[in-house]
Point group: none
Chain length 228, copies 2
DNA sequence: TCCGCTTAACCTTAATTAACCTAAATTGCT
DNA sequence: AGCAATTTAGGTTAATTAAGGTTAAGCGGA
């Protein structure tokens, strides 16, 4: 594998420099950014393998950045760093799309270990995702095939793209905007009407008696309820 | 798959019991084991979705157990718990096959979050079967479903959000401000009128003869009285 | 204690907004 | 051209918010 690229967002200059240098000594390619507003842009150009975000940034909230990153880069591992100690901050961190969470002060060695761990987990998961179980249904994302005991459906590509998103949010809520951004790339009015059409198609596939439901959360999105 | 199964290895009896009970309250199926030598055996019979290992076990070293587990169960998420603070212990944790690592003392809430995070990273399905008993009613928060023997109601998202708060305050008082802040995020005048509307809807669901009452405490909030 | 004032909560309706659904139009293949 | 998939369109329905009149609890002063 090529060098691992780390996007590191940290506003404290001293800390940022020290950590960056240490990571670079260990062979990582580090892009240090102090301004939270530049993160999305940097992700597009730098294409990091992992993002490390300080949460306590001036101006923008690190969790908000995390959420936006997650929308644009569904598979990017994100480690939050924060001085906050309350459990609810940890909760918020994971809900904001984080894949790991560390409290400050932290040791750089531990950060490195956790970075490597995240990359390892991501690889494991990517290999494993050939088949996704959705209640009594089985979805083959690579083949665009959805089946249950009785039927199999060859999905169209749009149908599959929407279901891909849903399959990552089993028994969780998906906001409409996430869906629109991931599938159509923007959340304009027309695409929104469009999404309605595909929600309808998925609901038709799942039926009303198979323990898989897409519940509308008006003004928010959907709850993808899957009974086991 | 039914509920999520957690293998929890902990030799301190008190701590083990408390954590197990809390996890069970949250709907997990927990197998508590005190003796590290029994872990492999328990994994074979119990088939957990995730393992939580205390590292400081008498006799066997938790890291060694982790390594063995990893050999036998390459995809099992493992969270190490330890009082050790040194970075090298964290390093050893991850090298021993761990997928996450927490320092003692820890909050059970954070443990739950990290468990769910590990499961999410592995695409293990979360359960939709969590239920809350409210007198003769059963509320399914994940499905936004309220039922008693006679009826079932698919709640709207706002109705469910308000009931979510109430369900945490069974036979206790909730102040109006708490409700407003949790559901609408602020306690402005309009949202306050708005809350009235939803209180009314909930009262309609519960009816006047089913032993569930929302009693007004004027100027303070509500008392959520539930007979058993 | 009783009366009246104040204020919070109740209740109903209207307005707004979001989502649903169906079908027609368009696009993009082959 | 013909077909399937996708997008566009618009009428319909439902959830939510906003508004305002009504009721009643609580409180202070006589």
């Amino acid at each position: 594998m090529a060098t691992i690229k780390i996007l590191y967002v940290e506003d404290e200059a001293n800390l940022g420099t020290i950590v960056s240098e240490t990571l670079e000594q260990k062979g990582f390619d580090v892009r240090l950014i102090a301004d939270g507003n530049l993160v999305l842009q940097a992700c597009l150009t730098f294409k990091p393998d992992i993002a490390v975000l300080d949460v306590m940034l001036p101006g923008v909230d690190g969790f908000t950045i995390g959420k936006n990153l997650r929308l644009q880069f569904p598979d990017l591992p994100i480690i939050f760093l924060t001085a906050k100690t309350q459990t609810k901050d940890v909760v918020e961190g994971f809900q904001s799309g984080g894949t790991d969470y560390m409290r400050k002060p932290f040791s750089v060695e531990e950060l490195i270990i956790r970075i490597q761990n995240q990359l390892r987990l991501r690889n494991v998961q990517q290999v494993a995702s050939e088949i996704i179980r959705i209640g009594k249904f089985i979805y083959h994302p690579k083949k665009l095939l959805l089946e249950n005991g009785e039927h199999r459906w060859q999905l169209s590509s749009r149908e599959a793209e929407v279901l891909d998103v849903f399959s990552r949010y089993i028994n969780r809520t998906i906001d409409r905007k996430t869906l629109l951004l991931e599938v159509w790339g923007d959340d304009s009015f027309f695409h929104s009407r469009n999404l309605d059409v595909y929600i309808r198609k998925l609901r038709d596939y799942f039926g009303s008696t198979n323990g898989v439901q897409i519940i509308t959360l008006k003004g928010k999105g959907y709850q993808f309820v899957v009974e086991n």
